[in-house]
Symmetry: C2
Subunit: 577 residues, 2 copies
């Protein structure tokens, strides 16, 4: 037997017991004739003690143990003379009578400590060592708890966990598929699913009523920071539901998850329309942890001879509470920040509200105190606040202001990682125009239903049609999204038509779904949550890589196993390549 | 709102309530001025009633409803005059006040009944309709319950659910990989995992202690009946364990699963060595639901001038209780059955034990009554039993006798689908010789540890080395298997060497694992269960296709979505093909 207890288990009530522990050497301290070792496993640390006086040879052997050696020790639990209140096992130590080295260890290429000295590349290459560190291991355990919390809630709500296939058919529309050549069907390919969308809809046609699956999905995108070619979705679908049935069900799920994983009661989850979210926050995934909402200054800012505003479609402001204490240099830094190509403004206008209630703006030439007062009134600004103003194309300037709002919020400490605020965004546009191709694109996907009242506008004014679609955002991140689906074959055809599919293309790619709609498809809708992102959010990390056991780097490579890699000649030949 | 209740929910206590139901028209019966419809959803059937006298127009509209139409009905729950005890909702019906057709339906290509008239091909093509049938839907629900039961047990036992990557590196050793060309790394390929074996071992190196995952795996095999290119494993690994720690843990899991899914207490789960299983049953996955064990007749059958026996390495018998009632014609059929190429014997010898205790064999010329009596004593045969005898190469004849045993057991009703008997088979050979290539192959996989006592034989007599490996069989099917792994770099090298890997090949394919072993790998072991097969077993079906929502056919094709399929030219170009 390798152990009677784990390294996190022993307490004062075990004093006197003979125990066997196994684990890794975390640290060794040699004091005169005494040697102390912290032995580590997933469950904690336990101190081992050796004493030259009692057993000289054993004490010497103990001093040959290096960091990360794997050892099995036998001994007696004794009370510590120097108790350590910061350690759950800090009241006791093991007086070791014998031990065995189960495996020696080379010196690890970086320290296995909460704050390691290893850079990202080396930690990815030796991921199995990085995973030994508490901060990483805790995130994997949290992810497992999240997974369980989701399943518990959905199982209790009568959802059936159904696996859909991974080897499916390529649908060139949308993002790029990863494909898999078929050896048995030469010249033909499977595709890996970007989502189980059509399969879950077919499960609804089959009467399964409530489906869920926690499932890997794949997207062959040009890699950028914090994108993974494979990612995990909590994928769900329900029959005989309307929008609010879905929102109520999954609001319940998210509340239940926060309660069971973080012991936190989520506050109100407001429903914002897309238009409202864009107007108030400049984002379809607003960070609701703080106010600093966008203010429309059009009527007080335009028509004062300041050409930049006068020519702009929109003039938009935010009020920074207490922002008057920013120095001139700091304000310049904000200007530089928004002028970077990632944000792309031409400049940044500000107006200080001085302690005495007077105003000092960067456009005093065009706006006198009275005019600036109207700004301040609109923005509900108080003494010592600061107003930032941007102008330009409405959609663009709102998005720019969203970035600035988030940046200022971050600096002001308004976005703490341990505070969570969720919202629903609903009534998205059904389609958006791709400027380049002049084609309409589905904003969610082609199976999303338009809002019934807007259906007639599909032919006359597609851009004005709202979709029966919804996203959930938490802390400014989209964590889930879905829609009520089309369940009528003719409406689905009309949608494909609007998106520029020929009848043949639609039939070839989605014929099986449209055929299924002929045989009694129920009204249905669903949602998918990103498990990676939810895990990151609950772990308080910004990178999904931290919550994935074996992530790929930004080039889509697994540098630990060195994949992808060339095939050997036999494999290529068999695949007809 | 589409419904206030499901179609399986209403009882006498609901009488008088106004309800809304939605579902599919299962059946319509027209009687004079009355119309009855059975409305179906996942939860059950509810009878709807219409009456010409009360509402002529509504009754007529009801008569336009065809099979599988989707309707939403409003009405009042009333007591039935003719109660139906076979239906949970059989005490009530709905007096319909109004209804709405949510979707019409074409006549389905086969009947949506428990016993359908549809052939397999058409049912696969319209799988979403086949899934409407109770026997299939129940299997998916059972699979979901099985999944939950497994997770509940493992979560309670402190296992962490960790996802390992799907886009990994090809390892040409073993079965064929499915590969995925990388667009971003031209000329390079990912492979889909045949199992997460190396990753779960790395998780042990990382100190995760107890890991599980329910995960899709992929194997590009030449297709044969009831093989799927993608299949699902319950994949588990533990650190600081010896064999019996693993067996105890997973025996507990299997018991817990049977209890929660079938409300069944599994009986004893004996541990048989591989040698014992082969000797007693001729199989490394014996069906323990019945006896009829193999009997070694060497010492009583050989040396009597019957050349077939005298030249044979082994003479093996089974006793068929009451088998004397088989007719001559039936015995001939058994002979034909074992002579088919799938079994491949040259003949089949039998010996009847007559009612009066005398014997009648097919080799009376060589064996008199006294000699046959020694057979009967060895076989513990009683009056009216029958002895079947086969001879030849020991390993081959045992396997042949296993087939005959299973066949006879089936005919005798000794293998009922609702009876379950499990066993462990342990101490498998570590390697087996491939006759063609003269090379040693790993019987489990190259990471399996030899039994410590046998380690020295690895150089001198590899075929005699036992592996620290184990399988679980239930009802003659292997449902799970695993081993204590090698955790020592030098032993792993020796194993690769035995299997004929050059040092370069071993390093290229598994270097990351062997490097990991340098940094403090703990002793570890694990197991994987086939979820598809367990689901089939618990569902009482012989085909795993029945427990997969969207299975592929024997050619690896999904004939519903028509995959695999050719790629379009743009996709090929992007992939550099």
């Amino acid at each position: 037997m390798h152990r009677t207890h784990t390294c996190g288990e022993l307490r004062v009530e075990h004093i006197g017991a003979t125990v066997t522990l196994s684990g890794w050497v975390q640290k060794r301290r040699d004091f005169g004739g005494m040697t102390f070792i912290d032995l580590r496993d997933r469950y904690g640390l336990t101190q081992l003690g050796f004493n030259e006086e009692q057993d000289k040879e054993l004490n010497e052997r103990a001093r040959s143990l290096g960091r990360e050696f794997v050892v099995k020790v036998h001994g007696t639990v004794i009370e510590r003379s120097n108790k350590n209140d910061n350690m759950p096992t800090g009241d006791i130590e093991i007086k070791v009578s014998d031990f065995e080295v189960l495996n020696a260890a080379l010196t690890p290429p970086f320290t296995i400590e909460d704050d390691t000295d290893g850079g990202e590349e080396i930690r990815l290459k030796y991921r199995y060592l990085d995973l030994r560190r508490n901060p990483i291991q805790e995130k994997l355990v949290l992810r497992s708890q999240l997974n369980k919390a989701v399943r518990d809630y959905l199982n209790d709500a009568d959802f059936v966990d159904v696996e859909t296939p991974y080897l499916i058919k390529s649908t060139p529309e949308g993002a790029r598929d990863f494909v898999v050549p078929s050896r048995m069907n030469e010249g033909q390919y499977y595709a890996l699913p970007q989502s189980p969308q059509t399969f879950k809809q077919l499960l609804m046609v089959s009467g399964l009523d409530k489906y869920y699956q926690i499932v890997k999905c794949f997207r062959d995108e040009d890699f950028r920071a914090d994108r993974q070619p494979e990612f995990t979705q909590i994928d769900c679908e329900m029959s005989f539901v309307e929008r609010d049935d879905v929102l109520d069900t999954f609001e319940g799920m998210i509340r239940s998850v926060f309660k069971s994983v973080k012991d936190l009661e989520l506050g109100d989850i407001p429903k914002l329309t897309y238009d409202e979210a864009m107007r108030r926050f400049g984002s379809d995934k607003p960070d609701m942890r703080f106010g600093m909402e966008l203010v429309d200054l059009d009527d007080v800012a335009k028509g004062n001879g300041f050409g930049v505003f006068d020519k702009a479609e929109s003039v938009v402001a935010i009020n920074v509470t207490g922002g008057n204490n920013y120095t001139r240099k700091e304000l310049d830094a904000f200007t530089d920040w928004v002028k970077r190509p990632q944000i792309g403004t031409l400049g940044l206008i500000y107006c200080r509200v001085n302690t005495d209630g007077s105003y000092k703006s960067s456009v005093d030439k065009f706006f006198d105190q009275d005019k600036l007062k109207t700004w301040a009134e609109k923005c509900d600004s108080k003494a010592d606040d600061l107003i930032f103003v941007l102008s330009g194309n409405t959609h663009k300037v709102r998005k720019q202001m969203n970035e600035l709002r988030l940046h200022v919020g971050e600096l002001q400490g308004l976005r703490p990682k341990n505070k969570y605020a969720a919202c629903w965004v609903v009534d998205f546009p059904l389609v958006e125009l791709d400027e380049e191709s002049g084609k309409w694109h589905a904003m969610h996907h082609p199976f999303t239903s338009p809002i019934p009242a807007d259906r007639d506008k599909m032919d006359t004014d597609p851009g004005a049609v709202k979709a029966n679609a919804y996203d959930m955002a938490i802390n400014g991140m989209e964590v889930g999204g879905g829609s009520i689906r089309i369940h009528d074959k003719n409406l689905q055809k009309r949608m494909f038509d609007l998106l520029g599919f020929t009848e043949e293309e639609a039939q070839e790619q989605f014929g099986f779904l449209m055929n299924a709609f002929e045989y009694g498809a129920p009204p249905h809708g669903g949602i998918a949550f990103g498990l990676d992102r939810l895990s990151a959010l609950l772990s308080g990390t910004d990178s999904i890589r931290d919550v994935i056991a074996f992530p790929k780097n930004n080039m889509g490579r697994d540098i630990m196993i060195d994949a992808p890699a060339p095939l050997n000649a036999d494999q290529k030949k068999e695949l007809g390549m």
